[in-house]
């Protein structure tokens, strides 16, 4: 049920982000979701892409430092309280969220949340036990 997320180390300088997107475009890779965390010196770009291995190899060949992280994708109804419900469940089970980001699907009325938990497997277990829809990686890559 886990999702492979690609993380990329970026120095804070003009045009660096565009170099990543150019490499992805040249290799026909689609970005499903992304988030960028930054400090004054560097940033970490987190991506979920249509083809993880292809994207990773292409970026590595171009000299980027890349990493793989297991994250969890969760479907949440696009209405007030949707996120709060999930966070409450996690809190009650003592699962910490390291970071998260969200995107809204083109069709339908649900949003997708990407979570990085301190304990990934336990996080998935809690969600599934409470009938929260966890989206498998394969499904997310081809959305």
């Amino acid at each position: 049920m886990k999702v492979d997320q690609l993380s990329i180390f970026l120095e804070n300088r003009a045009g660096r982000l565009a170099e990543v997107t150019k490499i992805l475009e040249d290799n026909g890779i689609n970005i499903r979701a992304l988030s960028l965390a930054d400090t004054s010196d560097f940033g970490i770009l987190r991506l979920i892409v249509s083809d993880f291995e292809k994207a990773r190899n292409a970026l590595k060949e171009n000299g980027f430092t890349v990493g793989r992280t297991n994250v969890v994708a969760v479907e949440v109804s696009d209405e007030p309280g949707g996120l709060n419900n999930i966070l409450t469940l996690l809190q009650e089970s003592g699962i910490n969220v390291e970071y998260m980001y969200a995107f809204v699907q083109q069709s339908g009325n649900s949003a997708v949340l990407i979570f990085r938990f301190d304990r990934t497997d336990q996080g998935i277990e809690v969600l599934q036990k409470n009938n929260i829809t966890v989206i498998p990686g394969e499904k997310l890559y081809s959305l």
Binding site: Q5, E11, D41, I44, G63, T65, G67, R116
Partner: protein
């Protein structure tokens, strides 16, 4: 005024005789007491008896900083531990630090040479001396301290740091002499002015500045800003510490070397051949009187030249021109000597960092800032900011701990560091750019 009138103004012929006598005795001492030197002499098929004139020194082996590192900590000492009364050391991890020792007589000689230095700078036994060199393993603080007491001055052992407090004491104690690095004197003056202290009106008369390279422009700047005479002092822990050479206040033109205790040569750093007076090359020093850790032809890596012309102050000793650079990659950051190889070994010992790094030195205001750029590889990369920031602070902490210098660590992308002809360009020194 000249403290040791007889020795500091010896006719050069007599000085050379004294040096030869001391050189012969030095060779005997190291040959019989330091296995390292015995081996070096044997490799060259020489014995102390082969030293018949000062020119014969060219037959003697050089001593490198690496030799001291290889014999860390006490392997180069020529006396038993019972006779050692003090240890000083450079910064650095095992294998990178150089350790020196002193006998009672070494400490006495050092104090005397520092007292000579104070007097050459224009200080008198009536003066109060504000000593802002760091106390501790670094030789600056204690070296100047003992010299100031030997002179008969009143020493304020404030050591380094605490700049506002330093400014307060300059105002309240009204010292006549200050000892610190040249860049720190400007920073201190700036801080004092911010505190509303009129630095020019203080009785402070003389500044004795060393431990880092500076220029004539900086001297003029310091002299104007603080309304003092700024004097250049030279020394290095391997040889003794501060007081190996000093400018006289009368001429401020070259540093008088304490030649009755140190035999100085200038060599071509490439070939090792001695160069005639006036030519620029690497300074090589033989310690004629040191007991605990005497060194033969120590390669200082400092580039300079010597002038044996008489000086208007009356001293007959050779004068060394201001050090213009180094024949190795040592950096001096706020008075602390830093070798890239020391940074490298600390990086390798810090988690899984690679030895791909670059040192950027800049001068912000009057203070040097050293930034260590380190490449992020996959083994240390994390998708969480806090882990990477923790890595940066760990590097900063380790460097501070082992080298005693505060740096800024910055993670960079791999290959972000310029490689010239396959060899990484390790140092970018922007201090001399305007």
């Amino acid at each position: 005024m000249i403290l040791d009138q007889d020795l500091e103004t010896l006719p050069r012929e007599e000085l050379r005789e004294l040096q030869l006598t001391r050189l012969k005795s030095l060779c005997e001492r190291v040959y019989h007491n330091v296995p390292f030197y015995k081996k070096r002499f044997e490799e060259r098929n020489i014995t102390p008896a082969d030293i018949k004139s000062l020119e014969d020194i060219r037959h003697l082996p050089f001593t490198e900083k690496q030799d001291l590192r290889n014999h860390y900590p006490f392997g180069m000492f020529a006396v038993s531990r019972d006779n050692i009364v003090r240890i000083h050391s450079s910064s650095g991890t095992t294998g990178k630090a150089t350790v020196v020792g002193y006998t009672k007589r070494d400490i006495k000689n050092w104090a005397r040479l520092m007292a000579r230095s104070f007097m050459a700078a224009g200080a008198t036994p009536q003066d109060m001396i504000h000593n802002a060199y760091g106390y501790g393993l670094f030789t600056g603080g204690l070296g100047a301290h003992y010299g100031a007491e030997e002179l008969g001055g009143a020493v304020v052992p404030i050591s380094g740091g605490g700049t506002r407090r330093q400014a307060m004491l300059l105002r309240d104690f009204q010292p006549d002499v200050i000892c610190c690095t040249p860049s720190y004197s400007l920073f201190l003056a700036e801080t004092a002015e911010e505190m509303g202290i009129d630095v020019k009106k203080l009785p402070l008369r003389i500044g004795i500045f060393g431990a880092e390279p500076w220029t004539e422009e900086m001297r003029r700047d310091i002299e104007n800003r603080l309304a003092i005479t700024a004097i250049d002092i030279y020394g290095l822990s391997e040889i003794m510490g501060p007081g190996v050479g000093i400018e006289c206040h009368e001429a401020q033109d070259g540093l008088h070397m304490m030649e009755d205790h140190f035999l100085v040569e200038i060599i071509d750093p490439e070939t090792g051949e001695p160069l005639p007076p006036g030519e620029t090359g690497e300074l090589v020093i033989t310690t004629l009187t040191k007991e605990a850790i005497p060194l033969i032809r120590y390669r200082t890596r400092d580039l300079t030249s010597l002038n044996v012309a008489p000086c208007k102050c009356g001293r007959t000793t050779a004068r060394m021109q201001r050090v213009t650079g180094r024949s190795d990659d040592m950096l001096i950051i706020r008075g602390v000597n830093v070798f890239p190889s020391q940074i490298e070994s600390i990086l390798i010992e810090t988690d899984g960092l690679t030895p791909h790094y670059q040192l950027i030195v800049e001068r912000h205001g009057n203070l040097d800032i050293l930034t260590v750029n380190v490449e992020v590889n996959e083994s240390v990369f994390s998708d969480e900011i806090k882990n990477l920031q923790r890595l940066e602070s760990k590097v900063q902490k380790n460097i501070k701990e082992f080298l005693g210098v505060s740096v800024r660590c910055k993670l960079v992308e791999p290959k972000g560091i310029e490689r010239s002809v396959g060899k990484a360009k390790r140092i970018i020194d922007k201090r001399n750019e305007s």
